[in-house]
Symmetry: C2
Subunit: 219 residues, 2 copies
């Protein structure tokens, strides 16, 4: 019982800091999204394709969250964008205070788009608001089409679903129509994109959506 109370306090405190982060992002007219998925669904590769497509037009920054290693921040930094690594040392999700601290190593006023790549985990990160404008959940077709039903909190709280690795559809036991149907059953308002970071299919509509969000945040 006392544990539940403390968990609630942790979440309340997190939400307070998230609102401060959100106010700061608004002040800088910066569009920020929280990128979420299971391990290996392709978050970092989607981010690489996205930076390639948008870096000519938009000033992009990245906060990378990982349990261990700074491999992902290194991958992203290769594209010449500012990238800050948060290592959670075993922690299963990012929290608003970690993002607030990471902002000390970025200049939000010099960015148009900030991506926060969360720890690979389809459960815990759903509960922690970081101050983002949108949660974007990535699901690989190789994970099967039942995942929205089995991990509903993440899909309920997301604004966008990116169904990734559609190049694997001929080889896996999942239909993209069933994934979308299950996802909309949990959250009818979801905006859904289908992408392959291997072939590049579906990257342009996803990047167009991002451009529109950045323009709206600036207006």
């Amino acid at each position: 019982m006392s544990i539940i109370t403390i968990e609630r306090k942790v979440l309340e405190k997190n939400d307070e800091i998230a609102e401060l982060n959100r106010a700061r992002f608004r002040e800088h007219r910066l569009f920020v999204f929280n990128l979420l998925s299971s391990p290996g669904a392709g978050k970092t590769t989607l981010l690489e394709r996205t930076i390639e497509a948008l870096r000519g037009d938009l000033r992009i920054g990245v906060i990378e969250g990982d349990v261990q290693t700074d491999v992902d921040a290194q991958r992203v930094a290769r594209y010449g964008v500012p990238a800050v690594q948060i290592v959670t040392n075993g922690g299963c999700h990012l929290e608003a205070r970690l993002v607030r601290d990471a902002l000390g190593s970025l200049d939000p006023g010099a960015l148009d788009l900030l991506v926060i790549e969360n720890v690979g985990n389809l459960v815990c990160p759903a509960n922690y608001d970081l101050g983002e404008a949108a949660k974007v959940v990535v699901l690989s077709t190789a994970e099967g089409d039942d995942k929205p039903l089995k991990y509903p909190a993440m899909f309920r709280r997301a604004s966008v679903l990116v169904v990734n690795k559609i190049d694997l559809l001929p080889y896996v036991n999942a239909k993209v129509e069933t994934i979308e149907q299950h996802a909309r059953q949990i959250n009818p308002a979801l905006t859904i994109f289908q992408t392959s970071c291997t072939t590049g299919e579906g990257i342009p509509p996803w990047c167009d959506w991002l451009r529109r969000q950045v323009a709206a945040a600036r207006a």
Copy 2:
């Protein structure tokens, strides 16, 4: 600080109950393994192929852990084995007390092999001993070959790694040799199997290993 103390207390209490579960399993000479992976790596399908191969020789029981739904217990029960579903209602891992409670709906004395399929999560379940004799972690080739380095706790605490979906190797950006090399870098003692639940490749050696563990628990 008080939160860290409470987390430690939660883990200590969990470990106490896990030891009671373990003593109970030993008393019944029952081999129990904890089946772990990211969402969609193929735990339930591996379990289905395993039950098909072993149900003629061994009396198998299953405890299914899920955040929501009893889809997995239904899938397994179709094979005519006793299956108990634990729904964690958003909880990101199984705990020893949930397994203890689930044992009330099973007859451990009437089983040779008990499989506990954990929540799909490569982070949190690594910390919670359930009383099992072995942790078996499943990694899909579609998740990429860097996962053992990025989620080391799970691979450090596992005895067995099943590299699953090897039929996808021609289509994904991962090499099974690199997965194994990274996994052994974290845990040199790992026993590693390569499987495809689609083609059936690699299922016999994995099932032979299980037969040997069951025989050893009985001796």
